[in-house]
């Protein structure tokens, strides 16, 4: 389960990272992703929402429907403690990965 494909894993990581800044809704998160990656990494909206729901089912984030203005209801996501912990371990794993890849490339 932990071994998900890299792209999806990266997206999960990005979402969790963004949510450390505070609760946010899906649209807000998509804007942030674009800003952080300076439009370079164009995370498709199509994969953002399934990722959010998966994270919720896994217990890394929790969500709440909030009645917002003009009768618009937004789902606001918030990081859970389990999510924060996962972010820490995954972060370490990611760095490890980057490091190993770097070493392999340098060794060539």
């Amino acid at each position: 389960m932990a071994k998900t494909d890299l792209l999806q894993g990266t997206l999960d990581l990005l979402i969790l990272k963004i949510l450390t800044l505070g609760p946010n809704h899906g649209w807000g998160i998509s804007i942030r992703i674009r800003q952080i990656s300076e439009e370079g990494l164009n995370a498709s909206q199509g994969s953002l929402y399934p990722a959010l729901h998966r994270l919720e089912l896994r217990g890394d984030v929790e969500s709440e429907m909030t009645p917002s203005e003009n009768n618009r209801r937004a789902r606001v996501y918030r990081l859970t403690r389990a999510g924060r912990r996962r972010l820490e371990t995954e972060n370490a794993t990611w760095e490890q990965f980057v490091l190993s890849v770097g070493r392999i490339l340098r060794a060539e």
Binding site: M1, A2, K3, H25, G26, W27, S30, S44, Q45, G46, S47, Y49, P50, H53, R54, L57, M65, S68, R72, R73, A74, R75
Partner: protein
Amino acid sequence: MRAVKIFGQLVAYLRGLARRRQINRELEDEIRFHLDQQIEVNVRRGMSPAEARRMAQLDFGGVAQTREAVREVRAIWLDSILRDVQVAIRMLRKQRAFTLTVAATLAVCLGANAVLFAIVDHVLLRPLSIPASDRVVITGNRYPRAGVDSGYSTSAADYVDRLRDTDVFEEQALFKVGNRSVDEHGVPTRVPSMSVTPSFFRLARVAPTLGRTFADDEIEPGRETKAVLSFGLWQSQFGADPGAVGRDLRIDGRPYTIVGVMPKEFALVAPDVTLWTPLTLTPAEKSTHYNDVWGYLARLKNGSSIDQAQAQIDAVNRANLQRFPQFARVISDMGFHTVVEPLQDSLVKDVRPTLHLMWGGALFVLLIGCLNVANLVIARSRTRTRELATRLALGAGRARIARQLITESLVLAVGSAAAGLIVGRIGLRALGSLNLEDLPRGADIQFDASTVVFTLAAGAIIGVILGAWPALAAVPTAPTTLLNQEQRSTSSGSGARRLRRSLVVAQVAFAFVLLVGAGLLFSSFRRVLAIDPGFQSDHVLTASVALPASRYREQPAAGRFAGEVLTRLRALPAVAKAGATDTIPFGSNHTNSLILPEGYQAKAGESMISPGRIVASSEYFETMRVRLIAGRLFDDRDVESAPGVAIVDETLAARFWPGTSPIGRRLYRPDDPNNLARITPTTTTFTVVGVIASMKLETLADTRAGAGAYYFPLAQQPERMLTFAVRTEGTPATLSHAVRAAIQSVDPELPVFDVQPMDRWTAKSLASRRAAMLLSLIFSAVALFLAAVGIYGVLAYAVAHRRKEIGIRLAVGASARVVFAMIMREGAVVIAVGVGLGAIGVSGLQRALQSQLFGTAVTDPVVLAIMTGLLASVAASACAVPAWRASRIDPRVALSD
């Protein structure tokens, strides 16, 4: 297994279904919010609204696809539960022996608990099916020093006084339970009935299904020929015809107008009543105190307590003693007082200790069963450690593994609980022979929703505990530790072995407590059976009639009827003797009535007594083979016109004429309250002609020092409630038809009931004692078996584990006998410690069993010795198998493993 699978799928499906609609709606909102936000931004950037919307949708990358992708995520999650259940079922099927053992153990244990829960729930927790039944109280007048210290009866005058002088009750009612004769398709049938004041139904707060109940003026003579039918009678007599209301029903030969039909579940005080009629009281009845032949119920007002009710009724009683000073002394000498109790308590008081005891037994069995299952689970989790470690090492989340383990044991335990419900249903039907219908609401004990919920919930709790235990034990450890541990498993696992041994010790201890309890009940039961009832019940057939007052108003008519029936019964072939009485032993008709010996001098503080007053025909005592101690029995001399005679039993004789012969002495009923010893010309006296051995009348084990009984000849004091008894030459039951026919040949319109051998009456009076004993025997047999399996399991595992060591011992010259003894010793320690702990538990039985024991102390050495021996020998046999196997280990094979 199929059932388990279906159940698991059902749970997952229901969960998904319940949330699906909400999830979908919220997802639509979420997507719309995203698009709206984007459109706004686009518009602000200068796009036209249509353009803005198109771009937003394009940017989103397909609304439909996203919707589908999210739904798939959700579905996978739901699916994973289903998959867990499927995996669980596959695992359980693979380990068939384990699964079947656990399922059978839990099914039996939970089944037993389901049965006891259903009984306790119906009988103890919900004995009344009327609204706010906890506010209804019943009262009983007691005269303990005169021998009347039970029952719930009241005088009509008390009812009138309480209506006038109390204000804690919202409603008060008087009732009298009896039997009426109703024509059922031309056949006269005796139906249980009740005459009630109109307030009775208001007090019950139950409205009729059809028609109405009684109006307040329908207790007036002349207007009282109204009847309310039970649902059952309405169906059987009128085929549930709504037009029945307003029609006539012949009751005891008189036409009554049907005014209403009560709902099916309505029952108050007497559950089998099928007919209610208005209760009429004569002016004399309304003003006569201490004539306690009615039942009284009251409903407390909101805010009033039962203590207040007791205080007000006590005050009414005190006022009455002042109003009637001529009674005051006699009545207070008898210890007169009125008890006020919640009706529910009064109904279940007698059976509560028995039921609690039985449920306690069932819980013990469940506990022992769970210990056994826990033992198996621990043994199995050792073998599964490798599997778990491998999965952990392959990256499965710990929570995921824990979930899988818990799902597995949940599926197993809840599935077993479902099987337990089936076992329980069968068991409940088998219990029918234990006379459950004699319990309050006993007839409608069944598995309803609360029983099902209780049983499945118990299964779920057991499942979570049994699953969480190995999950917690295995999961937090790092995979390497687990894998290494597995490799060195010969030295590790001693902790688990110790734990398993403690579980078996606990099992033995609990089984010992159950065995001793069952042994004590069994020994008590044998002692009760050995009690001399004062008569011989074998070869006696009884048949009862209730002569309707309408046709047998004059007492001599009843006497003539009885005489004629007896003549015909005695003419039957195979009938040796025939007699009649109004009080058959262990029947429900008992009368106590004040009587005094001539020359009675009241000693200070001594109470007058109210012994049993019984009417018996000639040959009754011979039929029952009652021992004559002095004088003579009733015979043809004792006719209506002859001088009044009586027979007393030895208890009463010893009280009235200690040390002298009662024969020729006279008894009288005092009729001058100012001078009890005075015999006036109007006082009726009875000359004692005989003394007989005391007969047990209410129960065999009646240990209360009863006041004794006196008997009048039926011809002189005829009664309308009669039981005929015939001593037969062959099997009593074969004469049933002949006896019934003989009675009906005298009065064809008379229903004849309770045609049964005398032994049946005895058996019925022992029903609850027998039920408690049989159930405890069954429970302890199951417990003994489970404990034996537990011991066997632990030793067999130990032997398998020490195979190599035993092989070495044998190789270096240990004899098979030494090895056998070594393993047996290991088992003996477990048994000895278990029995020792159990003995401590037995001391706790004292309180629980006290009321059930008869002539047997909790520390009865014979019972303790037999049960210790039984447990030890069964347990030793369980040890012998693995010990024998150990002694037969081939060293060459064991060492080359």
